[in-house]
Amino acid sequence: MNAVGTSLTSLLGEARRAARAYPTLLRVGLSEVVAYRAEFVVWILTTNMPFVMLAIWHAVASDGPVGRFGQKDFIAYYLGGWVIRLLTSTWLVWELSMEIRAGTLSARLLRPLHPLFAFSAQHLAALPMRLLIVTPVVAALVWLAGDRLAIRDPRILLIFLGAMVGAWLLIFFVMVLLGSLSFFLESAVGVFEVWLALFAVMSGYLVPLELLPAWVGRIARLSPFDSMLAFPLETLIGLRSLGTALRDLLTQWAYVAVLAAAGLSVWRRGVRRYVAFGG
């Protein structure tokens, strides 16, 4: 009983410390992004795939709509998808596996703050810069296909915001899980590449889920990949009704809970092992 009480107090203390440090960490993260702005821009340019896919579907739909998708729907879909992807993606896997292999993670572990807190601050801090980058594309989206946006309904808007937070958390914890594999495997980055390929297909990043071959689409809708991109995106442009969206929001947050638990447990086990042979 007493032990539980002590650990609860220490947990609360840690949370309070984290909350106090967070603003500073955000500031540090922001200046990091500003310092590496050239790399940032190159990274943005590497995410050109949705635009290529948009060109292709636009050509396909020139002689009539494809399923539920006309040319305008494709514009809304791919521009929206790019914006959501940019706002929710993190490159934590690279950092984690590099720090683990180079041993620089030790320094982070020594600090009186959970390393994952610090990482999350670093990635949240990149958001203002990313918002700046996506603004012109959002403007183009509103101008070219504004009537496709379903978030003028405040209820849909609320679900969309919840879905964005959920997607960010989900992707963050998947990255923690995959990055922590570096504690055990040499080629965790290889695993990550496989994951990336699956993500591209199953999340609707390359092709809208309903236009995939039927069996792939069915698997994709059940998988967590749906929650990472397709769900917020299709809610945004009104492809999911209010009822469906609410149900999918619950599914998404259930996935967040599961992956958070899985990611943190692998992380904890990895850190124990790391300390054991790092000395």
Partner: protein, 251 residues
């Protein structure tokens, strides 16, 4: 070359895993194509098996790029950063030749096997084999395509003499290259211009495929040939300039 094979074979599990990853990627590359042609029997004059021929060339070029061209040139960037390029420059052979043959990644053979399988399936569906003359033109274009690809890479690497952090650029290169799995005819306007003249993907995947399918106009083939050689020449020039700019580790 043999050294690379031996090094790779030491890690047999890794070799197998990477080969499998190559094949998975090929499968993933096919899914958007299958989705598109599930909706329409032809897109801008290309049917599914014809587009598959383009995918075959894409896979082949990707195998060449990632198996033979990019590992060697990535090591140049490393040399430039550490200043060890001096050792290479001191050797009595041409530096460009030395740096581009430094390293091979044999498991990329899987990509090429995949490409052959895709070709086989495509021509089986089309119901006829390519004419020998068409194959000859396609092979000539393959040589041009490889030299253009190589030239582009040399340009990227030359950039590393000025801006050292180039691994980002190589990702950009890879992501642009991915668009090469589509026939050039689906692109219009700015993208068409970009992929035909600036970053000539058309030359690398669509034109050889069209040659194989017997639908490439002869003039286009000649222009492609000349353009490809010109590109390689420019790259050589830039490389020389870049080397002149390189001031070794000590200075």
């Amino acid at each position: 070359m043999r050294m690379s094979a031996v090094t790779a074979m030491q890690y047999r599990a890794d070799f197998l895993l990477k080969g499998i990853i190559s094949l998975v990627w090929l499968g993933v590359a096919l899914i958007p194509l299958v989705s598109v042609f599930h909706q329409r029997s032809s897109v801008r004059g290309w049917t599914f098996p014809e587009a598959l021929v383009v995918v075959g060339w894409f896979s082949l070029m990707k195998g060449i790029l990632e198996g033979a061209i990019s590992p060697s040139l990535t090591s140049v960037v490393e040399h430039v950063r550490k200043g060890t390029l001096d050792f290479l420059l001191l050797k009595p052979a041409d530096a460009q030749f030395l740096v581009s043959t430094a390293k091979f990644e044999p498991w990329r053979v899987m990509d090429m096997l995949g490409a052959v399988a895709v070709f086989g399936y495509a021509f089986h569906t089309l119901g006829h084999a390519p004419r020998p003359a068409a194959v000859a033109v396609a092979l000539a274009l393959l040589a041009v395509a490889i030299s253009v690809l190589y030239a582009l890479w040399i340009l990227v690497v030359s950039a590393s003499f000025w801006v050292v952090k180039v691994d980002n650029l190589s990702y950009l290169f890879g992501s642009l290259f991915d668009a090469g799995r589509w026939p050039i005819a689906v692109f219009r306007g700015a993208l068409w211009f970009l992929f035909t003249f600036v970053f000539p993907l058309a030359l690398m995947t669509s034109y050889p495929a069209m040659a194989l399918l017997d639908r490439l106009p002869a003039t286009t083939a000649w222009v492609a040939l000349a353009g490809g050689l010109g590109f390689a020449g420019v790259a050589r020039l830039v490389w020389r300039r870049a080397l002149a700019f390189y001031t070794s580790a000590s200075s």
